[in-house]
């Protein structure tokens, strides 16, 4: 696979196929779908963080105009929503896995927990009726704090989870780490809070359940990143509908960032209710509802220690983390702080000994699960803050300390002490390119100039790695995954030579319809406009595990390559027959089959037609038709990495931090469409800046109420909060997939938060501020400056 110079091929910034429909208002998002006779669902949610349901009186509500049906936990007769990943504790015991019914039976466990399903002729009527339901609650004490959840006296979320502990897990060689710390020249310690975030895809979740009495078939239209996974989880575990009677369609989906991976109970409710009321049932979340029902992200509290020798070489790392699961276990929640997080603790460094402990706790909050980066931003933030602090404490230049500990370019494949084997990378080069583009050398002059204007200017760096291209099935199976993580791709060559591509991945902004068409058009030598990519419908696509973990090109694209290999192999035999040659002598290049050393050739289109009109055809050896499916199970994770540099300017009078400049240099392997790649990095970086400076899900400690439940309270990054971003790549190829691609969806969000906070702390160093928690809001920065000033004055 190489750049071919083809203007619509691999390596070209082709304009996107999907844009015309989105720009003209012709996209079809779930809420745009109207099924004939559809009714509207409204979900009555708990106003309390923790309470017993004493009584639900629906009599008055049921008599309201336009009410079709009202269901409560007592009516719901199917299964609970399952968790897809099982972690075992240090002592070998399995994690505590509480039931999660779509409608609460007797107790609510977070604000927004589901109490009743109201179905009306219109949404307004359903909502009016929901207001008339009288629920008697007995309020109970709530726990929301991650740090305090396992402490004595904390409210208990689940009877089976003693001290609210879901699991207490570890990874690495504790004895080796203890021994290394014993002989350390210097130890740097840090406490890190990785705050809770709301993913906030701009399209709120929606679901429509439909039931066909004539055939007994169910259809669910849903805002999902992985319709086949929803079909499997909902069909097999929740509603007991066999796959052949259940179709799941994820049409245009307006962003996901992880939050639309998971099987949500609303999906099960509308599907279940559609059969009960014998009408299609549609539910659309509003934004306030999304804040209390979409899985949230991050929420880790960690203590970390790094042992260094006298030259600044890292000897060992130990990390202890508490991770908040929320009130229920969402689909992938347990793997985020463990196998997606602790396994990355080597980072880009040669640290020989690492030990990590992770305790997962239940609280009376919305469930926490994967959000863009999922575990890897948490680890990167911890490591890069720790390394920065070690540089400050030892007096070693922060760039030099990183260089000193980088895994050398010739050390790959590199086995880390925490399970992973990195296949390729070049951390020195991404660092050097970033330093140059960011004009690191010229920074002190800019700091001095800013000082003259009364501003505090700082620069921060982060050198990072992530594991994505998720994932080798046998490996993740041994680590607790309850599914395989291969991908499926199908290539249908039509008689006239046009091609439909079926992929099990799902595009919700990533532009697969364009990127995959480039890959297929270039490989088969058919025009770009003759290739159409289909995704998101279990009745069309053979199978699929969906899109998350930056896996679509590395895993899904590789499946397409494997399917195309089969197409070319078969087409070669047809071409050989047509040219009366041996298949071994036939070459395929630029859409043409030729016999080596002769001028005999046939175009791909003629071979396709022959496959479907097999008059002159090797029919005894070969079936007609030209369509192939492949499943690709990756051999390893992929390891994108790179260097992010952020420059900030702080107004000490207001505490306002302005990002003056941001430079991202990433190694993502083979690039198909550079325009789309840059867009992915821009978006990820701004989500990272959002985490560092603006965003936070704040819960009231006493009542358990979410205080940031709307865009009036939760600070989303807006156009005037962020700068333009300088993006470049320096790519080494993934060595174990046929494309060499590593994935780009998450790098921006993973590398950026520590670069921003390291810059903020660099700016605040002259005024004596040594630590700050995310988000570094104006009030927090201003207060830190004031406290540091008072402390100095007191000295």
């Amino acid at each position: 696979m190489a750049d071919t110079g083809n203007p619509t091929g691999i390596g070209a910034s082709v304009k996107r196929k999907e844009d015309f429909r989105f720009l003209t208002g012709q996209g079809t998002y779930t809420d745009d779908i109207k099924r004939p006779g559809q009714a509207y669902a409204y979900i009555l949610r708990s106003p309390h963080a923790h309470a017993e349901i004493v009584k639900i009186d629906t009599a008055r509500a049921k008599a309201m105009p336009g009410v079709v049906a009202i269901f409560t936990g007592a009516d719901y007769d199917k299964g609970g929503v399952p968790c897809g990943w099982q972690i075992h504790s240090k002592d070998g015991s399995p994690m505590v896995e509480p039931p999660h019914f779509p409608l609460c039976k007797d107790r609510v466990r977070h604000v927004g927990d589901q109490v009743a399903l109201v179905i009306g002729e219109s949404l307004a009527q359903a909502r009016d009726a929901a207001e008339a339901i009288a629920v008697t609650y007995k309020e109970l004490p709530a726990i929301v704090s991650t740090a305090d959840a396992d402490k004595p006296g904390a409210a208990q979320v689940w009877p089976d989870a003693k001290n609210n502990t879901c699991f207490d897990w570890h990874l690495g060689d504790k004895a080796a780490v203890d021994a290394a710390f014993a002989k350390a020249h210097h130890v740097t310690k840090i406490d890190i809070v990785n705050q809770r975030l709301a993913p906030n895809a701009m399209e709120p979740r929606a679901a429509i359940g439909d039931y066909d009495r004539a055939t007994g078939e169910y259809t669910l239209y849903t805002t999902s990143q992985n319709p086949h996974v929803i079909r499997l989880l909902m069909g097999a575990f929740v509603l007991q509908i066999p796959e052949h009677k259940l179709r799941v369609v994820a049409p245009d989906v307006g962003g996901g960032f992880g939050s639309k991976i998971f099987h949500y109970s609303e999906e099960a409710l509308v599907t279940w209710a559609a059969a009960k009321v014998r009408r299609p049932v549609k539910w659309t979340s509003d934004r306030s509802e999304a804040f209390i029902s979409d899985a949230q992200g991050r929420d880790h509290v960690s203590h970390a220690e790094l042992a260094l020798d006298k030259d600044g070489k890292f000897l060992a790392l130990r990390v202890s983390t508490k991770a908040n699961m929320g009130a229920y276990l969402s689909t992938f929640a347990p793997c985020v702080p463990t196998y997606l997080s602790a396994t990355l603790l080597a980072g880009v460094y040669t640290t020989p000994a690492i030990y990590a402990e992770v305790k997962a706790v239940f609280t009376n909050t919305v469930a926490v699960d994967a959000y863009r980066g999922a575990g890897r931003p948490e680890t990167t933030y911890l490591l890069e803050r720790l390394v920065e602090k070690a540089a400050r404490e030892t007096g070693i230049d922060r760039v030099e300390l990183r260089r000193k500990n980088f895994i050398p370019k010739d050390a790959f494949p590199y086995q880390t002490p925490v399970a992973l084997q990195y296949d390729s990378g070049d951390y020195f080069s991404t660092l050097d390119i970033a330093l140059k583009r960011a004009d690191w050398a010229g920074f002190e002059a800019r700091r001095a100039e800013a000082k003259k204007r009364g501003k505090l200017r700082g620069i921060g760096i982060s050198t990072y790695i992530e594991a994505c291209g998720i994932a080798p099935s046998a490996v993740v199976g041994s680590l607790g995954a309850r599914a395989g993580l291969y991908e499926c791709g199908s290539i249908r060559v039509h008689p006239t030579g046009s091609v439909t591509v079926f992929t099990g991945t799902h595009s919700h902004g990533q532009g697969h319809e364009t990127t995959f068409a480039q890959l297929v058009s270039d490989t088969l030598g058919v025009p770009f406009d003759s290739v159409e990519v289909s995704h998101g419908d279990t009745n069309k696509i053979p199978f699929g595990m969906g899109t998350y973990g930056s896996r679509s090109l590395a895993v899904g694209g590789s499946a397409l390559v494997k399917a195309m290999d089969k197409i070319i192999a078969k087409a070669t035999r047809i071409a050989a027959h047509l040219m009366e040659a041996s298949a071994a002598d036939v070459e395929f290049k630029n859409g043409e089959f030729s016999v080596k050393g002769t001028d005999k050739k046939v175009p791909f289109g003629q071979v396709a037609l022959t496959a479907y009109v097999p008059h002159n055809y090797p029919i005894t050896e070969l079936e007609p038709g030209l369509e192939e499916t492949a499943f690709y199970d990756p051999l390893n994770f992929t390891y994108p990495g790179g260097c992010h540099i952020c420059e900030v300017e702080i107004d000490p009078d207001t505490g306002v931090t302005q990002v003056a400049k941001f430079t991202a240099v990433d190694d993502i392997g083979r690039v198909i469409n550079p325009m789309i790649v840059e867009g992915q990095v821009h978006g990820g970086v701004v989500q990272g800046i959002g985490q560092a400076l603006l965003e936070n899900c704040a819960y009231d400690n006493e009542s358990g109420q979410l205080l940031t439940g709307s865009y009036m309270d939760y600070t989303m990054p807006r156009a005037d909060d962020v700068p333009s971003i300088d993006v470049a790549t320096h790519n080494t190829m993934c060595t174990h997939n046929p494309l060499g691609s590593k994935g780009v969806g998450e790098v921006g969000a993973i590398g950026s938060p520590p670069a921003v906070i390291n810059a903020v702390l660099d700016a605040l160093l002259p005024v004596g501020v040594k630590d700050i928690t995310m988000p570094a809001t104006p009030v927090k920065v201003w207060q830190a400056i004031q406290s540091a000033g008072s402390a100095k004055a007191a000295e």
């Binding site: 003209t24 208002g25 012709q26 307004a124 962003g255 867009g679 989303m716």
Partner: protein, 156 residues
């Protein structure tokens, strides 16, 4: 129920609606113009932005009855056949959209923004789009698209 009459994308429409019906729901539910999206419930995200009387308005923040008699343009009304409005074209050329959900509102706001002032600086574009939230693009390419769209609109 009150009757509302208005002109939407050049066509006269009228319907009986509940008085509490928001303009965005009138467009989406009654006229099937689903290009206008609902991304929040506090008039913050701007996904529902349309033009009422030639000005950008968040249609979630206005009742349908308030638009009685008005000229309304939605994202569906911008292109002429398959020929995109220069601002739509600029968004495509500069990859100013990813998932497409905020895009209709973003484009409608951008058209109003560049109409109000020629030669906008990057900072002015960023400030002018403050009422439209995008989670995918990080705004980088949206700003580039609006700059290009402004130039193309002036040149038209």
């Amino acid at each position: 129920m009150p009757t509302v009459k208005m002109t939407v994308n050049g066509k006269p429409v009228s319907a009986e609606v509940e008085a509490r019906t928001l303009l965005v729901h009138f467009l989406r539910e009654h006229l099937d113009l689903t290009g206008t999206h609902v991304g929040c419930d506090t008039a913050q995200c701007g996904a529902c932005t349309v033009h009422v009387g030639g000005k950008a308005v968040k249609s979630c923040n206005m009742l349908a009855v308030q638009a009685d008699g008005a000229e309304v343009t939605t994202i569906e009304g911008l292109a002429t056949g398959d020929t995109l409005h220069p601002m739509q074209e600029a968004f495509r050329d500069h990859h100013g959209l990813q998932c497409g959900f905020c895009t209709p509102g973003m484009v409608m706001s951008a058209i109003d923004l560049v109409k109000r002032k020629a030669d906008l600086s990057e900072a002015e574009i960023r400030a002018g789009l403050e009422g439209n939230i995008c989670r995918c693009t990080g705004y980088h390419n949206i700003v580039k698209a609006v700059q290009a769209g402004a130039a193309a609109t002036r040149g038209r």
